[in-house]
């Protein structure tokens, strides 16, 4: 937002200052996310996942009903974080449809992630 940056150039052209809105859930362990998960918000998505896994015990919830889009790298970050959990699982609530599509294509048997529609 308003940050000055050079245009063009190799690998330097993606603005990394667009943050996702990430808030803790009040009634259960986990986070609620607002925004789009793509190249421009990847750093803040990955920070949120790192933070979540640090506090993870048994089940952590990710409420994604306000996420309009997630790209392959975003789903990859989630899958890899879930695979590295010592135990338990992530429950993904109301994600955008791309999330299940990408999980099914690349991690069809990942039982550390449970997707629920609501």
């Amino acid at each position: 937002m308003g940050a000055r940056r050079a245009k063009g150039g190799w690998g330097a052209a993606v603005p990394q200052n667009t943050a996702l809105e990430v808030n803790p859930l009040s009634d259960r362990p986990g986070i609620r996310v607002h925004g789009e998960i793509s190249e421009v918000t990847r750093p803040s998505w990955e920070r949120a996942l790192t933070e979540l896994s640090r506090h993870h015990q048994d089940v952590s919830y990710l409420e994604l009903s306000e996420v309009a889009f997630v790209d392959v790298a975003g789903v990859t970050a989630l899958a890899v974080t879930a695979m590295d959990l010592a135990d338990g699982r992530f429950v993904i609530e109301a994600p955008p449809p791309q999330l299940s599509r990408v999980l099914e294509l690349f991690w069809p048997d990942l039982d550390r992630i449970e997707v629920t529609s609501g």
Partner: protein, 310 residues
């Protein structure tokens, strides 16, 4: 060399058959030999041919994976990662045996270059692996050019009587290069030039245009995913910017992304990553969710075009 080297070699014959009888006899013999060696086996050929083989094998068909290639290999770009590596990687430890028929008479002129490149790239994808892939070619229905390409993309050729010899025309790299053909966008296609700041904007633009042109539901979601991968690649690896265009042809939606980068690795998008690997899925996703991918890459730039049947 040691026998271990021979045992681990990739074997890739083309079978030129003239009729159903030859087709059934040769494919059944190939599978019977595999069964005798206890090899895991898969057959990925067009539906009617699948039935011919299944019927001929009878009870011996048990345990063989049968896939209709017109579905599994609708987009030739996903046959290596999803069908061939998918099966081979699921059976580590010994030789696996596959019949793959990705080229049939109904393949269109737009599809064929991607089919030929796929057949060529199999050689690179399986180099040094204990895998045998037999690729049948219908000698009476396919054109002389297609049959000549098959002699370049297969180190071994077999005729309908089972005589096998080395192909003196084998040169898979030449086929990859020959079909690296310029892609010309129609003058009236809607286009959007983007830089890194515009990644969400260009994706929204593509979705809105595709929706106006008739894409909906799961197809529209797949388009959005594919566009995100290609435009992000342009920004991160392709010089920082690019141009996206969307248009329709009868029965299908076409979308392409052009940028100033070059794609030096012909197997990009066809090497399945390890489950815990961070990158390497972008172009593969495009192959998985679309019906055809055509690619043109030179030192001056790269165009990736994908087709979605509507």
């Amino acid at each position: 060399m040691t026998s271990e080297t021979t045992d681990g070699a990739f074997v890739h014959p083309a079978l030129f058959y003239r009729d159903e009888h030859e087709y059934v006899r040769r494919t059944a013999a190939f599978l019977t030999e595999g069964r005798a060696h206890g090899e895991p086996m898969a057959v990925a050929v067009p539906g009617p041919n699948l039935e011919l083989i299944r019927t001929a094998l009878g009870a011996d068909a048990e345990g063989i994976l049968f896939l209709d290639m017109t579905e599994a290999g609708r987009n030739p770009g996903r046959i290596i990662p999803r069908v061939l590596r998918g099966f081979a990687d699921a059976h580590p430890g010994g030789r696996v045996r596959i019949i793959g028929e990705p080229v049939w008479a109904g393949r269109s002129e737009t599809e064929y270059p991607a089919c030929a490149q796929h057949e060529a790239l199999i050689n690179a994808a399986f180099e040094g692996r204990a895998v045998t892939i037999l690729c049948p070619y219908d000698e009476t229905a396919l054109t002389p050019e297609v049959l000549a390409d098959a002699r370049a993309t297969h180190p071994l050729v077999m005729d309908g009587d089972g005589r096998q010899e080395a192909s003196d025309a084998y040169d898979w790299r030449a086929v990859v290069d020959r079909y690296n053909q310029p892609l010309v966008r129609p003058a009236d296609a809607s286009a959007f030039s983007f830089g890194g700041q515009d990644l969400p904007k260009v994706r929204h633009y593509a979705v809105a245009r595709a929706s106006e042109l008739g894409a909906a539901g799961a197809r529209l979601m797949d388009l959005e995913l594919a566009v995100a991968e290609l435009t992000t690649n342009s920004v991160v690896h392709g010089g920082g910017s690019g141009t996206l265009a969307v248009w329709t042809e009868p029965g299908r939606l076409v979308c392409e992304v052009h940028d100033g980068g070059r794609l030096p690795d012909p197997l990009a998008g066809r090497r399945p990553p390890e489950p815990g690997q961070i990158g390497g899925r972008g172009l593969m996703l495009v192959h998985y969710v679309t019906d055809l991918v055509r690619l043109h890459t030179t030192a001056e730039g790269t165009t990736v075009r994908f087709y979605l049947d509507l």
